[in-house]
């Protein structure tokens, strides 16, 4: 297959694939939101004076660490019904939201660990050290964006499953390699600059913290 032909195929399907990637980001943001809210509650509980409360939080955090996200994805896909009835009306439970829920479990553990540390720094008026939470959180978001590609296995129309749609539509086995590589580029384009920027932010914050300590 000629190079020009492959470029042509990729160009034609770019809007379709790009829309899929927007889904990846959306799924990840929803997962981060849910995970951060629950994780924050757990982090707050860990700092509690009452040993019982802190213990419960630690156990729950430990639990989320042991749950494999990929298996949990299947668990939710099979066990949450497609539609549910609430107050006499039927609502859909979309597959992408199941993916967000599954991914959010990992976020809960991460936020519970990192935010409780940040909280302690904040209480000790170590504001800059507490701010380290922000670049860490953003780096974790990127990990979740990459993990969101697994939503394709339960049929969510994100970028990876759209790649498979394109491959079926193009009907050429040779195009497969290029289409998957092209999809990988999207992840690079998002992750590389953000990762680099967050690394810089982290370094500068750490430098400030060390200077303050000295």
């Amino acid at each position: 297959m000629a190079f020009a032909e492959i470029v042509q195929i990729l160009m034609v399907w770019t809007p379709f694939l790009l829309e899929g990637f927007v889904w990846n980001i959306l799924i990840s943001l929803v997962a981060m939101t849910i995970g951060t809210v629950i994780g924050a509650v757990l982090a707050r509980m860990r700092l509690s004076e009452r040993r019982m409360v802190a213990g419960v939080s630690l156990t729950l955090t430990e639990l989320t660490r042991n749950i494999p996200t990929f298996v949990f994805l299947f668990y939710l896909a099979f066990l949450i019904p497609v539609e549910f009835e609430f107050a006499g009306r039927l609502y859909l439970f979309p597959a992408w939201f199941k993916a967000s829920l599954a991914l959010s479990v990992a976020v809960v553990g991460f936020v519970s660990d990192n935010l409780s540390v940040a909280w302690r720094h904040w209480r000790n008026h170590d504001r800059l050290a507490a701010l380290l939470f922000v670049p860490n959180w953003t780096t974790y978001l990127l990990i979740i964006v990459m993990a969101s590609s697994t939503a394709s296995v339960i049929g969510v129309g994100e970028i990876v499953s759209r790649c498979n749609v394109v491959i079926a539509a193009v009907g050429s086995d040779e195009a497969m390699l290029w289409i998957y590589m092209y999809a990988i580029c999207y992840f690079f384009l998002l992750c590389f600059p953000l990762n680099w920027a967050m690394g810089r932010v982290k370094q500068r914050l750490l430098a400030h913290v060390h200077r303050a300590a000295v």
Partner: protein, 534 residues
């Protein structure tokens, strides 16, 4: 109280006599057929090619041939009567037909109102019709895809649940046909015996039915409810058994141009199999029943079987827990094989990740001119979603390897390699950071093969966290059909329809495996501390 009034006594005797005579009449339906010299069989007239009207207005088809053979074996004439799905059992009850052979699925509810003959003579299931080149090789290829279906099919709901289909339900077959034609769905979920009729239509010639039938429902001949245990039931049952043993049913199937059904092939194998004592497995037991292995699995109850099977079915009947992996030999083997594969994947990924991580760090530290390249490669490796990498290697690179060099790779190997690469890249960074710390502490420290353990010790917690993550991610191998735990579990759900049980078992086992791996790493760390390894 004594009965001393003569007329009352007469009535009593009369009733008893009538009952006895009635019993006599009922028990001899077979005699009745022979005396009459005609067997009356109800078949369908609107279900080609199983039961239909030919140009002369006669009832013909697969089921008409079965009826003809019944009559031949009983040595009587045959009279065919057209019946429909709604009146077939009613006609049996009123006695206007002797036998019904009319695409009747065997279910516990129907067994209440008629006597259904075991073994079943045929089976239908859910299959799909798809446009040409739909690239479907597996039911899981349809996950999340729009699939058209016709309202009222018994399998719609269950198939949606088992294969996570996005089902679009239409009112009649005509509407569904149009929707498939217009490309509004990837495939049409339909009865496989209906598909046989449809594909024989030249208009649908290019369409195909690429997937094996699921949720197979066996078809049984029916006779009246009161004929249970009668000579007629036994005779018919023996005839059907003989059909299976001789393979005659497969000939009839071929005669009508029906795609060979897996059910007939499997049943033929079962009924011709001999046990260790040299006798056929499927012979009548002392009580006259067929052995459990030769009966319809879905309709067995705990009283029909013994041992673990009995316990499993009892649990299903009492508590609704269908743990087929406990009592069904096939499911159990499938699940255990999946567990073994998952353990191999986990171990392979741990070893592979450590190898990639250590080698990467060693190369970066000992060959300064390669340092930049290693760092860049590791950064790229960390930013490639592992699932996408698995697809890229398995399908993209795999295709090139096969078409150019004729090499094929094992899916499990590819999954382990890709997961190891992804995790290994993260470990490279961890080890380089730890090396930097050691360099800061001891000027002149350089990373070498012998000093690697010290670096690993310093980075232990972070490395273990990466390894735990890769252990959790091994399920991704199921995306390229590696037969590990998730693949095994979804296959069992597809066959048995027990998602609640299987998903909980799967989750629990994975949870325990992850915990086990964590405990092993913790134990190693405790040992190191005890032995003063710092």
């Amino acid at each position: 109280m004594m009965v001393n009034r003569p007329w009352l006594r007469m009535v009593c005797v009369g009733v008893l006599l009538a009952l006895a005579l009635g019993q006599e009449a009922l028990a001899s339906r077979l005699d009745l057929i022979q005396k009459r010299g005609t067997l009356i069989v109800g078949i369908k007239s609107d279900y080609p090619p199983f039961g239909m009207l030919n140009a002369e207005g006669q009832l013909v088809g697969f089921e008409a041939d079965l009826a003809a053979d019944l009559a031949r074996r009983l040595g009587v004439q045959l009279q065919l009567v057209a019946v429909t799905s709604t009146n077939r059992l009613q006609k049996l009850e009123e006695g206007s037909v002797d036998v019904v052979i009319a695409t009747l699925g065997d279910t516990p509810q129907r067994r209440q109102i008629a006597t259904l003959i075991e073994p079943s003579y045929y089976a239908s299931g859910a299959a799909i019709i798809a446009p040409p080149n739909a690239h479907l090789s597996n039911w899981s290829d349809l996950r999340g895809k729009k699939v058209c279906a016709t309202q009222g099919a018994y399998f719609n709901r269950a198939m949606t649940q088992r294969f996570l289909l996005d089902l679009q339900i239409f009112n009649g077959t005509r509407d569904t046909k149009l929707a498939l034609r217009d490309g509004r769905c990837a495939a049409w979920l339909y009865d496989d015996t209906g598909i046989v009729g449809l594909l024989s239509d030249p208009e649908w010639g290019s369409y195909e039915s690429p997937l094996p039938s699921m949720m197979v429902s066996p078809w049984a001949m029916a006779i009246a409810a009161q004929e249970r245990g009668s000579p007629l039931e036994r005779t018919l049952s023996d005839i059907v058994a003989d059909w299976h043993r001789s393979g005659w049913l497969m000939n009839v199937e071929k005669r009508w141009g029906i795609k060979p059904s897996q059910f007939l092939a499997d049943t033929h194998n079962l009924w011709t199999r001999t046990g260790s004592d040299g006798n056929p497995v499927c012979t009548r037991q002392a009580n006259g029943d067929w052995p459990a292995a030769c009966r319809n699995k879905l309709l067995l109850s705990s009283t029909d079987v013994t041992g673990l099977y009995h316990f499993g079915l009892l649990l299903k009947e009492r508590a609704g827990l269908d743990l087929t992996i406990l009592y069904d030999v096939y499911d159990r083997d499938l699940f255990l094989a999946g567990l073994w594969m998952t353990l191999q994947l986990m171990l392979g990924s741990i070893v592979g990740s450590l190898l990639v991580g250590c080698l990467g760090a060693l190369v970066a530290e000992s060959l300064p001119w390669l340092r930049g390249l290693v760092r860049l490669t590791s950064a790229l490796g960390r930013m490639t979603p592992p699932l996408l990498l698995i697809y890229l290697v398995f399908f993209g690179v795999g295709h090139i390897m096969v078409s150019h060099y004729g090499w094929t790779f094992d899916g499990a190997m590819i999954a382990v390699s890709c997961l190891s690469l992804y995790t290994g890249c993260a470990i490279v960074f961890t080890l380089l950071e730890a090396t930097a710390v050691l360099k800061h502490q001891e000027p002149g420290f350089t990373l070498s093969w012998r000093r690697l353990p010290r670096v690993l010790r310093l980075a232990y917690a972070a490395v273990v966290a990466s390894l735990i993550n890769v252990v959790k991610a091994t399920g991704m191998a199921s995306a390229i059909a590696v037969p590990e735990l998730i693949s095994a579990s979804t296959a069992i759900v597809a066959e048995q329809g027990n998602p609640a049980v299987m998903m909980n078992v799967l989750m629990l086992i994975y949870f325990l495996l992850v915990m086990l791996v964590m405990q092993i790493f913790n134990a190693i760390e405790r040992r190191m501390i005890r032995h003063g390894v710092r």
